[in-house]
């Protein structure tokens, strides 16, 4: 890339088909800006996703993009990143994709500290399948599968991610694209697994008033907040009435690709005295 890229340069030719007013527009536009700010090279950027309204985003960004299957974006992203560490990998999905069907993968990507950014556009509902309860749908809400009101305590994603030892955990809001941009840039720059929960209203199945409701329920973490204390971060995450926005937890530790390079590949090569040839590998089968 010779010239500076503009936000519009990261726009693909596919036109978003989200409902007018969908929170995901807010994130997408902020993402274009963040990509501009980061001056990422599309050829070395991978944007991947699962399945859901939110997961359509991979089609809207000019990069190496992949719209995989429901719930598996993190293993896919891990495969990309580990096999080509020089690429920037941004994985995106919905609350159903990530916390329901994909719930088994987050902890593992987080504990290994796979150096990717994972964004969940959390609208507290299944949008694409037209309005069933997700693990973050509030209690009591009537959805297509909870006619008598949603039952069962809901997930607190930020709390979970801290427990998983994710090295970067943040929350932001579709209603504030500037904030998204700031957080996303910081997440991409963070060396390690960076998780962002984006409160992103589904106007069609959760109502037009979500922006308003959320605006009243969020509070911004101020500059003085030190995100390095796990217990404090956990405590902040516990507040489900006033949702903290910003980087809630952050601690730098070696990334998985670094670890593998330093502790596995280099050791293995030392053990083999340079790159092992087939003939050398064959020796162990000699009787």
């Amino acid at each position: 890339m010779n010239e500076a890229k503009k936000a519009a340069d990261y726009r693909s030719e596919l036109k978003p088909i989200w409902c007018p007013g969908c929170g995901d527009f807010g994130f997408l536009n902020a993402m274009y800006k963040a990509l501009e700010e980061l001056q990422l090279d599309p050829a070395n950027t991978v944007v991947c996703s699962g399945i859901g309204c939110s997961s359509r985003i991979s089609g809207y960004v000019k990069a190496y993009s992949f719209n995989g299957i429901h719930g598996r974006v993190l293993p896919f992203a891990s495969g990309v990143k580990m096999s080509r560490p020089e690429t920037t990998v941004i994985a995106v999905g919905g609350d159903g994709d990530g916390f329901s069907i994909g719930a088994g993968h987050i902890g593992h990507a987080a504990r290994k500290n796979i150096n990717i950014t994972y964004v969940v556009l959390d609208n507290n509902i299944y949008g694409l399948t037209k309005g069933q309860a997700s693990p973050t749908t509030p209690l009591g809400v009537r959805t297509k599968t909870t006619y008598y009101g949603n039952m069962g305590t809901t997930f607190n994603p930020v709390r979970m991610l801290i427990a998983y030892k994710a090295s970067f955990v943040a929350r932001t809001f579709s209603g504030d694209p500037k904030h998204i941009q700031k957080i996303l840039v910081e997440a991409v720059r963070h060396p390690g697994f960076a998780f962002i929960e984006v409160l992103s209203p589904c106007v069609t199945f959760r109502g037009q008033d979500q922006y308003k409701i959320l605006r009243e329920r969020v509070r911004y973490l101020d500059e003085s907040y030190n995100p390095e204390n796990e217990v404090e971060a956990f405590d902040i995450a516990n507040d489900e009435n006033m949702l903290a926005l910003g980087v809630i937890y952050k601690k730098i530790r070696p990334t998985y690709d670094e670890i593998i390079q330093q502790n596995v590949i280099s050791k293995a090569k030392a053990a083999s005295n340079g790159v092992a040839k087939i003939d050398k590998l064959l020796e162990q089968f000699q009787p």
Binding site: V46, G68, T87, Q286
Partner: protein
């Protein structure tokens, strides 16, 4: 009577050193250039429990485990009895047991002749004397049988040295002494009652490998760069081997949280331009079917090794079966082409894996290699040349083409082409950015939901089969091609079939066999050649529901050749014996004669 072929069984408890003894035997024989085939069998316990090996050693190439045992070494009677149904003895088998392990009074399946040919040797006592512990009784035993049956002593000596090479010198020495003690004891105290003497010509050494190791080597030969997997019996050794050696070549091995993650991780790695693979078995492959469909749809090259085990469900994790065939071919939803290749012995595991990478990389689609526990866990001697690549046969590797400048202008990842194969870029190539997708899509990868686009893209994905079929013909024919009686088999059943067909022809029965290596897509030509003159075709398979037969009938109309297909379907658990196949051949042959 001098034998150029001997089958030795050894049974005992987990602590008796049964497997070590087998390995030393196998290594010794292979270093003298003999042909070797070893099966191991364990109880369900992780430690302790019963354990047996069956070692076949021959001066001539061997195809199977050898149906019946010439020499049965019993290190513990109680454990031997657990293998009653697996370890079938020749009527005149020689028995060896430990003097200090009394035989139970009843239920011992020995006939009078065998009881006659029974040597009691104080294995433990001698071991104790020479090494201070009874642990070395297996080594004493090797000394004894090498003397009794003229096994390669010098080579055994070397093998014992190699086995203990990381141990202190005195340990090695005391083991060598223990072996000598076994030999001496036989010389001094045993009067040979049986006529068995092994005879052979020494040649240059052969390699010793298990099927899973051959797969792992094949993958590395083919240029594997990324492996992701989740442990599962009987495939785990592939991952274990690769996790140790792939990093020596800058490759990455990831143990994932499950098989869903494994398959998607290799799809990610391959999307990123790396040769990628996973290996699994029964329950794991079920979890991968969604991902395999994704690889078909997004046209991502991946190699999946399925080491079949007994099923359904968790089934028989340590036993063999050939009942994942239909699942391999049809296991994903939708019309989801993938290639299925089946190795038929250890050496073939190497070849098939190399071929799998070639096809998957060139045709941008998933390739499944269907091995099974019988191949995966057995030890065979293999020609070093076969692996080093000088052997005649399939040795092509493929390096992914990248789109040229022309193609990168208005780049279309899923461009319609003659062969269905489109230019494929990956991260790092400027201008090659595209949307890979599991949704139906247009040439750019953008989602399309209309019937016309779907029809065209489906055609594109299936076209590749026509080209793959032209690249490969690696079926094997055994016996006369124009015989009226035929056997069609696949995978690990080959060994018993080949040996049985040879025996049958020697008996005057005109029978030929066909064993395809490329299972799917279906290659008609070899069948056309094979069917000529045939009247009956036996289809032996370790699948109770006869999956192979159903599959074949879907693609060839036996009736059009005037051929009657005769099912020989049995559940897995233990592989076919040569005797079983031969008896079936004789039965059908007699019936044909009778109707002539």
């Amino acid at each position: 009577m001098n034998n150029r072929n001997i089958v030795i069984g050894i049974a005992g408890s987990g602590g008796d050193g049964v497997v070590s003894a087998g390995e030393i035997l196998v290594n010794a024989a292979s270093s003298d250039g003999l042909f070797v085939f070893m099966l191991k069998s364990f109880g369900a316990q992780i430690r302790g429990g019963e354990c047996s090996v069956r070692v076949r050693i021959s001066d001539l190439p061997v195809q199977s485990q050898g149906d019946r045992i010439d020499v049965m070494v019993v290190l513990s009677w109680s454990n031997f009895l657990r293998f009653r149904t697996e370890l079938l003895l020749k009527d005149n088998a020689v028995i060896l047991s430990d003097t200090d392990d009394p035989m139970p009074d009843k239920d011992v399946p020995l006939n009078d002749q065998q009881r006659e040919l029974w040597y009691k040797i104080p294995f433990s006592k001698l071991a104790n004397e020479k090494t201070g512990s009874s642990l070395a009784k297996n080594i004493v035993m090797l000394g004894a049988i090498s003397e009794l049956f003229s096994l390669p002593k010098e080579a055994l000596n070397k093998s014992v040295h190699k086995k203990f090479r990381n141990k202190p010198d005195d340990i090695i020495e005391s083991n060598i002494k223990a072996m000598q003690a076994g030999t001496d004891y036989v010389c001094e105290h045993v009067e040979k009652k049986d006529p068995l003497r092994f005879e052979y010509e020494a040649r240059s050494p052969r390699l010793v490998m298990q099927g899973n190791e051959a797969v792992a080597m094949g993958a590395i030969y083919a240029g594997l760069e990324f492996y992701a997997g989740y442990p599962i019996t009987p495939s785990t050794e592939i991952m274990e081997w690769i996790s140790r050696y792939l990093p020596q070549r800058d490759g990455i091995t990831m143990q994932m949280e499950d098989e869903l993650a494994s398959i998607n991780a290799i799809i990610g790695a391959s999307f990123a331009g790396r040769k990628a693979m996973t290996a699994t078995s029964g329950p794991g492959i079920s979890l991968m079917t969604e991902g395999i469909g994704l690889a078909t749809m997004a046209e991502i090259p991946i190699v999946i090794i399925n080491v079949q085990r007994g099923g359904p469900s968790t089934g028989l994790p340590t036993k063999t079966e050939q009942a994942d065939l239909m699942q391999a071919i049809w296991g994903s939803t939708g019309d989801s082409p993938r290639v299925v290749i089946a190795p038929c012995d250890v050496e073939d595991c190497f070849d098939c894996t190399v071929m799998a990478f070639y096809i998957s990389e060139k045709y941008q689609m998933p390739v499944i290699v269907l091995s099974d526990q019988f191949i995966a866990h057995r030890t065979e001697s293999v020609s070093p040349d076969a692996i080093r690549g000088t052997k005649e046969g399939f040795r092509k590797t493929y390096t992914r083409d990248i789109p040229n400048e022309e193609e990168l202008k208005e780049y279309r990842r899923y461009k319609f082409t003659e062969s269905g194969v489109s230019p494929m870029s990956y991260p790092g190539i400027p201008g090659g950015e595209y949307l890979g997708s599991g949704l139906e899509h247009d040439e750019r990868g953008y989602p399309r939901g209309d019937a016309v686009s779907h029809q065209k893209m489906t055609e594109k994905r299936w076209k590749k089969f026509e080209y793959i079929k032209q690249e490969f013909r690696f079926e094997r024919f055994y016996g006369p091609l124009d015989a009226p009686l035929g056997v069609i088999a696949w995978g690990s059943t080959k060994g018993a079939v080949k040996e049985a067909v040879n025996k049958a022809n020697a008996m005057g029965i005109a029978v030929g066999a066909l064993v395809p290596q490329l299972i799917y897509p279906f290659l008609l030509d070899p069948f056309n050649e094979f069917m000529k003159n045939k009247k009956r075709v036996i289809i032996p398979e370790m699948s109770f529901s006869g999956q192979f037969k159903r599959y074949l009938r879907g693609f060839i109309r036996f009736g059009d050749y005037g051929v009657k297909d005769v099912a020989y379907a049995k559940a897995g658990g233990s592989p076919f014996t040569v005797e079983e196949i031969l008896n079936k051949i004789i039965e059908v042959w007699k019936d044909m004669e009778a109707r002539r």
